[in-house]
């Protein structure tokens, strides 16, 4: 297999094709600390793309509760179990990726889910990490008993396993934005992609009998508009844009700032070797750091520290970028924080949005003398 460079694991690795990075790579940052599992993203996607016959079970966007939730069932546990214990040395991954661990005759390790694996999309919802906490239990941070929500879409990986394992090259990565698509004319329903995408984000259509996956709302992205799941996010956890490689990081690009400058946003299961392009700000309240390190790699401790600094008011720039999330339907290419405001700019440099770092607060008088009535808060 050719060798390619994966910056997320700090080394070269094997991949079925030569490296071919797109001109720019669509990417997103999800701030897990703010997700409320309202599933608005899930439904925004579902009603847009997967309400047809044969797509009933498909959630291109799903939100699962960690540590117990997963869709399809145990997707993460199973691939990690297949991979076995692996090691990092600092920021360099010294274990095997799913491509390097492939047995003879396969391009990667992977498994094909059964239909029952998809039957419980919100299994484990709101279940805490440890229900066996004793009597003397005091609430403290980070929590001894914890859970958090993990919203997931296709990661539009730089080295997609779906693409790498399609024997027909029916899956392609668009050079203009790095979006990974299944060619609906070319796919013959072999499901090698369903088997080998470790994130299980390719699905088999029961009626058309071919594979389908998240299209990152490319018709919107082509017009400078964010994907549906991003712009409908109630918790405003999602920052959508384009990510560069670390050597070309642009500190004014919101995604680059979060991923490369503050290093507060981390890839999901980077050790699998796909260089996924959805990044997560890890939850700061979780008492088991090892669990987070397993999911997001060795950058977890630094990310949590950086996020805490922002929460303590020591990093207005970071606060500003996060305030810009879901503040406009348009894609923010650059940002600036100045005089208590965060500004988001479009590709042409025009101002798209401006948000205050601190929302202005107005307290209304209990008695409204104009109409001679008391104001009651009835909610």
């Amino acid at each position: 297999m050719p060798r390619v460079y994966n910056w997320q694991i700090g080394r070269e690795m094997e991949y079925p094709f030569e490296a071919a990075r797109p001109l720019r790579q669509a990417a997103a940052v999800f701030d897990i600390n703010k997700c409320i599992a309202c599933q608005t993203c899930t439904m925004a996607c579902k009603t847009t793309w997967t309400s047809g016959r044969g797509q009933e079970y498909m959630f291109w966007n799903n939100v699962e509760t960690k540590p117990w939730g997963s869709y399809p069932l145990a997707w993460d546990v199973r691939i990690l179990q297949m991979l076995g214990p692996q090691t990092w040395q600092g920021d360099r991954y010294t274990g095997k990726t799913i491509f390097e661990a492939a047995p003879l005759g396969e391009k990667a390790i992977g498994y094909l889910p059964e239909d029952l694996d998809y039957a419980y999309p919100n299994r484990g919802e709101d279940e805490i990490s440890d229900a066996s906490i004793g009597q003397r239990f005091y609430l403290r941070l980070p929590h001894d008993a914890w859970f958090f929500y993990l919203p997931r879409i296709c990661n539009h990986c730089t080295y997609p396993a779906c693409l790498g394992s399609c024997p027909r090259t029916a899956i392609y990565k668009r050079p203009e934005d790095g979006i990974v698509l299944v060619d609906q004319e070319r796919c013959r329903g072999y499901r090698e992609c369903v088997k080998n995408c470790p994130y299980k984000k390719v699905f088999y259509n029961h009626v058309t009998r071919v594979a389908e996956k998240c299209v990152l709302c490319y018709p919107a992205v082509e017009r400078g508009i964010q994907p549906r799941c991003m712009r409908n996010c109630i918790g405003k956890i999602r920052t959508f844009g384009f990510v560069n490689t670390p050597d070309k990081a642009d500190p004014e690009n919101p995604v680059d700032f979060l991923v490369h400058v503050r290093k507060v946003a981390l890839p999901l299961l980077p050790q699998l070797g796909l260089e996924p392009n959805v990044y997560y700000i890890p939850p700061v309240h979780v008492g088991n750091l090892d669990f987070l390190r397993m999911l997001f790699g060795p950058g977890v401790d630094n990310a949590i520290a950086a996020y805490r600094r922002a929460m303590a008011g020591e990093d207005p720039e970071l606060v500003g970028v996060l305030m810009l999330a879901v503040s406009t339907d348009r894609i923010v290419h650059r940002f600036r924080v100045r005089d208590g405001y965060a500004y988001g700019y479009g590709e042409d440099g025009s101002e798209l949005v401006r948000v205050p770092l601190k929302e202005p607060v107005t307290v209304r008088q209990f008695y409204d003398s104009l109409v001679g009535a008391y104001r009651y808060n009835v909610t």
């Binding site: 009603t47 309400s51 047809g52 016959r53 044969g54 797509q55 009933e56 047995p103 003879l104 005759g105 396969e106 391009k107 094909l112 889910p113 059964e114 239909d115 998809y118 394992s165 024997p167 027909r168 090259t169 609906q184 004319e185 070319r186 796919c187 013959r188 329903g189 072999y190 499901r191 090698e192 369903v194 699905f203 088999y204 259509n205 029961h206 009626v207 058309t208 009998r209 071919v210 389908e212």
Partner: protein
């Protein structure tokens, strides 16, 4: 496993070669695979009556059932005709017998097939092009061919205890078979750009769609329930064909004309062209015919086509000529699809001259 003496491979049964009895050259494959346990209960003794095959997960092909399963496998192989029928040829050398009548294209069991010389040909798991077939598969298939100067028909027979005719669930794969033919110089690995090959591919799910109507969602999920599929408000159990043209994009592959996604199929046999691994493409003119039938653990399938080619790059056949020829079989229960198949070696097809 591979035999230390005759070099044949097998996946089911004991440590001794089911063909010649010599011991295996290599240990069992250490990777867990989907396999078949042949015989009675797990770990049980000698099965009574005809061997049954049940699907079950096991490690390495040897783990369950122990010696009993091994013995049963050998007995099964013999019983299914490896030693009692014609000898198994390592390479297909098929003669298409001339008959001055209509070919039994729609009847795999027609007595006319008795006119065609049968050849039993060895199958082996495809392990040249990634991904390999690493699950059990049939050891051999029987090939016959007839032509009448206008049309040629092949009949393929192989054992398959599990009958896989649905491709609806994520882990459901079809049984299928194919023949390929090309110029005498065509290469085994699905031809090449300079020397493309023509493939006739029969699919069990297409056959079922034709015989019993399009196998929709409920064929695999009988209790499926839903509110409505936009924009089909109030339509109970809509079939894909109920979608109005402006809503067809909700069945994307069907809407863009993917031949695999169509609901109305004129034939269970697809005519394809290949120019190397991963290149098969449906030909513009779909005029191949055929019919497959499963009886008592055995598929019997007819694949037919006019001798003349109707598409550019398609291999035309002429009496008195020889062609490169190979066959392939897919066991759906073993998750066969695409390159995960059992194949014959590259052999020849010769068309008898009409009398």
């Amino acid at each position: 496993m591979r035999c230390s003496k005759c070099n044949k491979t097998w996946h089911v049964g004991g440590a001794n070669c089911p063909y010649c009895g010599a011991p295996a050259a290599e240990p069992a494959d250490p990777h867990p695979v989907w396999g078949y346990v042949i015989g009675g209960e797990e770990g049980g003794g000698q099965p009574s009556g005809p061997p049954v095959i049940s699907r079950r997960r096991f490690i390495g092909g040897l783990a369950l059932g122990g010696a009993a399963a091994g013995l049963a496998a050998a007995g099964y192989a013999i019983g299914r005709g490896l030693l009692t029928e014609e000898p198994v040829a390592p390479v297909p050398q098929v003669t298409a017998r001339y008959v001055g009548r209509e070919l039994p294209v729609d009847d795999p069991y027609s007595p006319v097939w008795a006119d065609a010389p049968a050849q039993r040909v060895a199958l082996q798991p495809q392990n040249v092009v990634l991904p390999f077939k690493s699950t059990p598969g049939p050891q051999a298939l029987t090939v016959r061919a007839l032509h009448n100067g206008r049309e040629i028909a092949f009949r393929l027979e192989w054992d398959d205890q599990a009958r896989d005719e649905l491709t609806i669930k994520t882990d459901q794969f079809r049984d299928a078979c194919a023949v390929f033919f090309g110029s005498p110089t065509a290469v085994w690995t699905m031809g090449s750009p300079e020397d493309p090959v023509t493939v006739l591919h029969w699919k069990a799910d297409w056959q079922k769609d034709i015989d019993h109507g399009f196998q929709d969602l409920e064929a695999a999920f009988p209790n499926a329930t839903f509110d409505f599929y936009p924009p089909l408000v109030g339509v109970a159990r809509p079939a894909p064909d109920d979608y109005p043209p402006e809503a067809r994009h909700r069945l994307p592959a069907l809407a863009v004309g993917n031949p695999l996604a169509q609901t109305r199929r004129p034939s269970p046999v697809e005519k394809l062209q290949a120019m190397g691994p991963g290149t098969i493409s449906t030909m513009p003119t779909q005029d191949a015919r055929g019919r497959g039938s499963w009886r008592d653990g055995r598929w019997t399938v007819v694949l037919a086509r006019a001798l003349a080619a109707s598409d550019q790059g398609e291999t035309a056949l002429q009496p008195g000529q020889s062609y490169a020829f190979a066959c392939a079989v897919w066991w759906g229960a073993a998750a066969d699809r695409g390159a995960r198949k059992s194949i014959t070696q590259l052999g020849t097809l010769w068309l008898e001259v009409g009398r």
